[in-house]
């Protein structure tokens, strides 16, 4: 069995390496993008292999899906003129430097101990008190909820930053009938799957981010075929749904602090309900923000 494992791991590692090299060093930019998307998918396999299904889900939806769309649409606006940098001796020279650095780094990290980290053990022990059963969700929404709040804020901020730009218009050609029909089927499906992942996140892999990313992917698909309604920033409802996640999160933090329990300390009886509320709000915000972040243009955002 061990040999099979080694072959599998080795193949995965080689695949990752080859795809990364393709993404970095392809002369054609288009190919580099395609290699990068494939790399995202293989990385999702690696996460699953290393026992992190939450990450595999997130990587597949966010890393490969959304980033892929982003890169392809960026390719449309930024023509493929670039080469790798001119000096012929530079890649070789820096390549040797990289190799030396790698040897040094690997030597330094080689002795890292086996066994789980202290914080990880503490987290596993504390899961029963957190209000959810799945350890990763417990970490994200209870033990380290402050990180998560800031992270939701990062998504919001990226969108706010995008609002400042004068973007090229996004126009899509009319979609062909088969694509339309398939999108009509797939978009509701991804919404359904997103809601399922959110619900399941309490006791199994899944949660707000994976769910938000999936729903965003569905929205994005509708957008590409021209079926999605516009989500203009000028509309109150749109702004509300984008802001509701961080706002509810922050209000929960402030409320718990003023109730005396301390910043983001959820009372045990309430923690499950509070976490669910926060997750639903955060998912809404993340889904809409990501969809707009990838697929909107200035007409929609800058009013």
């Amino acid at each position: 069995m061990a040999v099979v494992d080694w072959v599998y791991d080795g193949l995965l590692a080689l695949l990752v390496l080859g795809l990364a090299a393709g993404a970095l060093y392809s002369l054609s930019l288009y190919r580099a993008v395609v290699f990068y998307i494939a790399l995202g998918l293989v990385l999702a396999l690696v996460w699953a292999r290393l026992g992190a299904p939450d990450l595999a889900l997130a990587e597949a939806a966010i890393g490969a899906g959304l980033t892929g769309v982003l890169l392809l649409s960026a390719l449309k606006h930024q023509p493929n003129k670039a080469r790798l940098m001119g000096w012929p001796w530079l890649p070789g020279l820096t390549g040797i430097a990289i190799l030396l650095l790698l040897i040094m780094m690997v030597k330094a990290v080689w002795g890292l101990p086996q066994g789980m980290a202290a914080v990880g053990q503490a987290a596993l022990l504390a899961v029963p008190e957190s209000g959810v059963e799945h350890p990763v969700t417990a970490v994200l929404l209870n033990f380290r909820a402050w990180d998560t709040l800031l992270e939701v804020l990062v998504v919001l901020l990226a969108l706010l930053a995008l609002r400042q730009l004068t973007l090229p218009d996004e126009t899509f050609p009319d979609a062909w009938p088969l694509l339309l029909a398939w999108s009509r089927l797939l978009a509701p499906l991804s919404l359904l799957l997103g809601i399922y992942l959110l619900w399941r996140g309490a006791d199994a892999p899944g949660g707000a981010f994976q769910s938000g990313a999936l729903i965003a992917a569905g929205l994005l698909m509708l957008r590409l075929v021209g079926l999605s309604p516009a989500l203009p920033w000028s509309r109150f409802g749109v702004r509300l749904s984008i802001l509701i996640g961080p706002t509810i999160f922050l209000l929960a933090a402030m409320a718990t602090a003023s109730l005396g329990a301390g910043w983001l300390a959820f009372p045990p009886d309430w923690s499950k309900a509070l976490i669910l509320l926060i997750e639903v709000a955060a998912t809404t915000s993340i889904a809409i923000s990501l969809a707009l972040l990838v697929g909107s243009d200035s007409r929609e955002l800058n009013q």
Binding site: S28, Y30, L75, W176, L178, L179
Partner: protein, 103 residues
């Protein structure tokens, strides 16, 4: 009983693997985009289908099998759509020599 299904599963798995390998070879070796598409969708449909049957027999659980069949149906549908889109894009694209695949 379990052993019997397990033995039955292997031919399916091997056949599935064969179609995947053949499809990959096809993508790499076939001359134009249409035949490459043909090869790759074959791999998706047949290869994955056979693998799903094999794995279903191995798992011995109805729920898992149904789930995998659902996955297969989705992959097949998206493969078919993507294939049609690519072929149509190729046909309607202005025919210029472009090594980099267009845009």
């Amino acid at each position: 009983m379990i052993e019997f299904t397990a033995i039955l599963a292997w031919p399916f798995l091997l056949a599935g693997a064969f179609f995947f390998i053949a499809g990959t070879l096809g993508v790499l070796r076939f001359p134009d985009i249409y035949s490459r598409l043909h090869a790759v969708t074959k791999a998706d449909t047949l290869g994955l289908g056979l693998t799903v049957i094999g794995l279903g027999l191995l798992s011995g659980s109805l729920r898992t099998t149904l789930l995998m069949i659902l996955v297969w149906l989705l992959v097949m549908a998206s493969g078919a759509t993507a294939c049609q889109l690519l072929a149509r894009y190729e046909r309607e694209r202005p025919q210029v020599e472009d090594e980099n695949g267009g845009r």
